[in-house]
């Protein structure tokens, strides 16, 4: 079996078994990281696959999260899982479609700034407003159910998140192999040539942008249901920035990179925040995390996903890492 697929099977197998060997803290932590991983996958579709650096991914995540809470009935009855999930995804996708329609007319650094501006717009829609429940956010008192699935149970929630990440990963991996995926890769590598060849690149980019927003909304939905709580920080640019760091850390151009990056980022954050390890320095965790990420980017320019190839290269003294990666790209 080729290295990427055995890697993926091992990762998802380990994630499925994880709750059996750990307590509720460990389960909750990994559930949270898997949600970030799904969000990172959605951004990888834009940045690593299409070549569009979006700095507003948190808006779609936040819209999915707020939709989960706001669309649940407030009379204490149980919300429907499918109804709220699909509504959250569709709302996030609709916002992404609107943002994409306008922002994709710009390029490069302008695109980054316009996506940031649109995400800040969404942020201020829920920040300190009656809609967003003030600065404190809103609680979700009754979690959705469907048949025997009850997301109030930690194990069901974990299973739902695991399944979502697996489906998101498989869908995006297949998407990249399809004619659509090859076209957006072509747009990333050489947009001018794609136009000259006969591709209208705008609809392709808009479709990728909308899909990405939908998946980010899906992740946001899971986040809100898991914590039973939403606040405006879910839409803040800090989160957009963190997700960008995740996929860069993991290695752009690979869905596996987004998975690895989300885990590496969240676990590093957990480490530097730990008072057991760093004592009173733990409150300065940003410093440690920042320095570590800078070191990672400096010493692993192609991300964690290229680490095996990079090590082989060190050992054999040949320059294979880049070539091997480009072949898979």
């Amino acid at each position: 079996m080729r290295y990427p697929s055995s890697f993926v099977i091992a990762v998802f197998g380990a994630l499925a078994l994880w709750p059996l060997v750990t307590g509720s803290y460990g389960t909750d932590l990994v559930a949270k990281i898997m949600i970030y991983a799904l969000l990172a996958l959605s951004l990888e579709l834009l940045v690593g696959s299409t070549g569009l650096v979006c700095f507003g991914q948190a808006a779609f995540f936040g819209i999915g999260a707020y939709a989960a809470v706001l669309l649940s009935p407030n009379d204490g009855s149980t919300p429907s899982l499918w109804l709220t999930l699909f509504s959250a995804i569709i709302l996030a996708a609709a916002y992404a479609f609107a943002v994409g329609t306008l922002s994709l007319r710009t390029q490069g650094v302008y695109f980054i700034m316009v996506t940031l501006a649109f995400s800040q717009m969404a942020y201020y829609l829920v920040h300190d407003t009656p809609l967003g429940g003030g600065t404190d956010g809103i609680y979700l008192y009754v979690k959705p159910t469907w048949g025997w699935i009850d997301l109030d149970k930690a194990s069901h929630m974990y299973g739902m998140i695991w399944l979502s990440l697996l489906l998101g990963f498989l869908f995006l991996s297949q998407l990249l192999r399809s004619p659509f995926g090859r076209a957006i890769s072509g747009i990333r590598v050489n947009e001018q040539r794609m136009k000259a060849t006969g591709f209208s690149v705008y609809p392709y980019k808009l479709a990728a942008f909308t899909l990405s927003g939908a998946i980010a909304g899906w992740a946001g939905y899971l986040f809100a249901i898991k914590d039973g709580f939403v606040n405006p920080e879910l839409l803040s640019w800090h989160l957009s920035g963190s997700v960008l760091v995740m996929i860069i850390l993991g290695g752009l151009g690979h869905m596996r990179g987004a998975l690895l990056g989300a885990f590496a980022f969240a676990l590093l954050q957990e480490l530097f925040q730990s008072e057991a390890v760093f004592g009173s320095y733990a409150k300065h965790w940003h410093l440690g995390l920042g320095l570590t990420i800078m070191a990672c980017v400096a010493f692993m320019p192609h991300g964690l996903v290229a680490l095996p190839a990079q090590l082989r290269e060190r050992l054999s003294g040949r320059n294979t890492a880049k070539a091997e990666l480009e072949e898979h790209a």
């Binding site: 869908f171 297949q174 998407l175 192999r177 399809s178 004619p179 659509f180 995926g181 090859r182 076209a183 890769s185 072509g186 590598v189 050489n190 001018q192 040539r193 794609m194 136009k195 000259a196 060849t197 006969g198 591709f199 209208s200 690149v201 609809p203 392709y204 479709a207 070539a323 480009e326 072949e327 790209a329």
Partner: protein, 249 residues
């Protein structure tokens, strides 16, 4: 005299601020004819190709493709309607294999954008076209090599293959022979001879031996203006051309 005119540029002008890069140029490309455009650097040859292919719009003038006014069509739409071009500087997909460069180009005519569940690499139509065109230009042995690692001459061949993969009726070739060795040049000229039977070809080229050997018509441009159009012999003996370009000796 419209013997199968496939592409026509009518009074094309392009200004960049005060500079007139292409000045009132009209050109007609017919099937079965290699129409070469020659001129010194900066004469406006590449700009003319860009105007015809729709890379940017003309300041004034019209473009007709297959007797249809396409002046306001986007470049991608012109390409789908049968206008293929190659670039002076290599504009391939360097991180893709030779096969995928050709296959993706072929996909432009068979887009199927929404069949997410299909594997592009297993798509018989585009893979077959990719094999054909790669073999035709002489890259049949290098299908699985990464395009960025090809030699310069092979990249030029790949440019042509990618162009052919879109099944164009008109070919606009911007210096396809630049940097090619003698053997590669020979192969390319043979290919152009074959292609001209069912294509209209515009050839911008600096290799004068090649141009005078293969062209049926030659247009000479100087400072954005056309100073002569005619058969290779007419052009060779044209006094204006001799003084302006070929050097009077």
């Amino acid at each position: 005299m419209s013997r199968d005119v496939l592409l026509r540029g009518i009074n094309l002008t392009r200004r960049w601020g005060g500079l007139v890069a292409v000045n009132d140029v009209s050109i007609a490309l017919t099937r079965g004819c290699v129409h070469a455009v020659i001129g010194t650097n900066g004469a406006g040859k590449s700009t003319l190709i860009n105007l015809l292919s729709g890379e940017f719009p003309p300041s004034s003038g019209q473009v007709e493709l297959l007797n249809q006014d396409v002046s306001h069509w986007a470049q991608s739409r012109r390409a789908r309607a049968g206008l293929g071009r190659s670039y002076q500087r290599n504009t391939i997909f360097p991180s893709f294999t030779v096969l995928e460069n050709c296959r993706l180009s072929a996909q432009a005519q068979h887009q199927q954008a929404w069949s997410f569940w299909r594997n592009a690499e297993a798509d018989a139509t585009t893979v077959t076209i990719a094999h054909e065109v790669a073999t035709r230009v002489g890259l049949g042995e290098s299908l699985h090599r990464q395009a960025g690692y090809l030699s310069h001459g092979q990249k030029r061949q790949l440019e042509i293959a990618m162009c052919l993969a879109t099944a164009p009726k008109v070919l606009l070739l911007d210096e396809p022979l630049a940097g090619m060795g003698a053997e590669e040049t020979e192969r390319m000229l043979t290919l152009l001879e074959e292609l001209k039977h069912d294509h209209a070809i515009l050839l911008v080229e600096h290799d004068m031996d090649a141009v005078f050997r293969i062209a049926d018509l030659i247009t000479v441009m100087v400072n954005g203006l056309v100073i002569a159009t005619g058969s290779p012999d007419d052009v060779r003996n044209n006094p204006d051309v001799r003084s302006a370009y070929l050097g009077d000796h």
